[in-house]
Symmetry: C2
Subunit: 115 residues, 2 copies
């Protein structure tokens, strides 16, 4: 099992308390899955190392993944619906796991996740 996120959680202005809880829990769940996925990929790659070049490629891969995750899981109100849509699209979250958000937010997330 992976740890949950360490970063602070920003209050989402205009969201109800139950919505905040749903969003926070969904976000941490997706983060945990992203880390699990990365750990699995790293183990596979480590097992296949065979040269200095492959070690540096692993390093480059990890640099990019870290940068991507730091950007992706930097939780802000701006674009939060888009962030959720991208997590759904990337199979890190299901729409069901966002149950509790109001219908309009859910509809937007679902629609965007299909792009």
């Amino acid at each position: 099992m992976v740890e949950t996120m360490r970063e602070g959680w920003t209050e989402l202005e205009g969201w109800t308390d139950p919505e905040q809880s749903v969003a926070k829990e969904a976000f941490e769940r997706a983060y945990g899955r992203a880390v699990e996925r990365l750990v699995t990929a790293l183990r596979d790659r480590a097992a296949a190392l065979h040269s200095a070049e492959s070690v540096w490629q692993l390093h480059d891969y990890l640099s990019i993944e870290r940068h991507t995750m730091e950007g992706r899981f930097d939780f802000r109100l701006d674009g939060i619906l888009f962030v959720f849509a991208s997590l759904v699209k990337d199979d890190l979250l299901t729409i069901d796991e966002l149950a509790g958000l109001d219908a309009e937010k859910l509809a937007k997330i679902a629609a965007m996740s299909r792009f």
Copy 2:
């Protein structure tokens, strides 16, 4: 097995051809061992990953190792005896594997490797 170094080899001015060969072969051998050692460490660390934090620590570790190796195996005449001494000290090379260098060079390398 790991690949040998890809970087070019600088001629060592004032060294005989046989000495050049001994130095080059020893250097590549030490590089191969350093890579093998790093690969083993990476596999062990990958197997022990359990959190996002441990993944970022692996990344930091790899960044430092890469930097160290790029500096250490950048072959130049300046300080080449010291480089060999540090490789011997770090168990990446034995004095025996430098047989063929003249006695004075070997004595210097052996002496420095004990510091």
